[in-house]
C-alpha cells in the first residue's frame, strides 16, 4: 500500500517568494493534516481537513499559510510570502477517520528560507 507522499522533499526559497508544498494521502483516508515541525516548537498543527472540508485553519498560521484540498487524493500548502522563520519541516498526515485518531505521516518537506 502506498503511504503518504510529499513533494518536494527539499525546498529552498528566497524571502518573499511563494512556495507550494504537495501531499497525497493514503488512498481511502478521510482526514488530512498539515503540521510544521521545528526543534523549538515541536509539531504544530497548521490545517485539518475532514472529507475535503477545512475543519481547522491553523489560528496563528492563517495569515500567510493556506492549505487546500481540491480532491480526496491531493492537498497543497501554500506559504505566501515566505519568511526566514518559516524554515522548518512540513509534515502531511492522513487518517482513516477521526474516530481512529491514528495518523500516518509522510516523510515531510524540509523548507529553507534565505
Amino acid at each position: 500500500d502506498a503511504g503518504v507522499t510529499q513533494t518536494p522533499r527539499h525546498e529552498v526559497a528566497e524571502k518573499g517568494q511563494t512556495i507550494i508544498l504537495k501531499c497525497e494521502p493514503v488512498s481511502g483516508h478521510n482526514d488530512l493534516f498539515w503540521y510544521r515541525q521545528t526543534k523549538i516548537q515541536g509539531l504544530e498543527l497548521l490545517s485539518y481537513f475532514r472529507s475535503k472540508s477545512l475543519m481547522e485553519d491553523g489560528g496563528a498560521f492563517k495569515d500567510r499559510f493556506k492549505a487546500e484540498m481540491l480532491n480526496s487524493s491531493f492537498s497543497t500548502l501554500k506559504i505566501q510570502p515566505t519568511e526566514p522563520k518559516d524554515s522548518a519541516v512540513y509534515l502531511c498526515a492522513s487518517s482513516p477517520d477521526s474516530s481512529q485518531n491514528t495518523l500516518y505521516f509522510g516523510a515531510g518537506t524540509r523548507l529553507s528560507v534565505l
Binding site: 515541536g42 491514528t102 509522510g106
Partner: protein
C-alpha cells in the same frame, strides 16, 4: 505549555539494554499514542493505548498508562541500533476530540 510532555530530552543506551521513556499529560484523555520518528522520516505510530487500558504490548515495546497520575511509559527491551529515533507521546487535546497534541519528544540513541 505542552498538554503532553516526555520527561527526558535525550537517552542513550547500549544495544541489548532496556530503556523506558516517560510521558506526562495534563487533561483527561480518550487515548494516548506513542510515535517514533527516525531521521529524515515522518513519525510512525508504535502503540495506541486507550484510557480504560493499563498496558499494551507490541513486540519488544510495552506501553503503560496511569490515568490517576496522568502518566505513561514506553519500554523497549533488547534495544537495537535501529531503535535510534525520537519518541513522542501524543494525546487528544480534549477527551474524544480529533486533534492530537504531541510532546516535544525524547531522542533515544542506541549505541553498538
Amino acid at each position: 505549555s505542552q498538554l503532553a510532555e516526555e520527561n527526558s530530552w535525550a537517552l542513550s543506551v547500549h544495544e541489548g539494554e532496556s530503556v523506558t521513556v516517560n510521558c506526562s499529560y495534563k487533561t483527561s484523555i480518550t487515548a494516548l499514542q506513542w510515535y517514533r520518528q527516525k531521521s529524515g522520516k515522518g513519525p510512525a505510530q508504535l502503540i495506541l493505548i486507550r484510557s480504560n487500558e493499563r498496558e499494551k504490548r507490541n513486540g519488544r515495546l510495552r506501553a503503560t498508562l496511569d490515568t490517576s497520575s496522568q502518566s505513561s511509559s514506553l519500554s523497549i527491551t533488547a534495544t537495537r541500533c535501529e531503535d535510534t529515533a525520537v519518541y513522542f507521546c501524543a494525546t487528544d487535546a480534549i477527551s474524544g476530540s480529533w486533534q492530537l497534541i504531541f510532546g516535544s519528544g525524547t531522542q533515544l540513541t542506541v549505541m553498538p
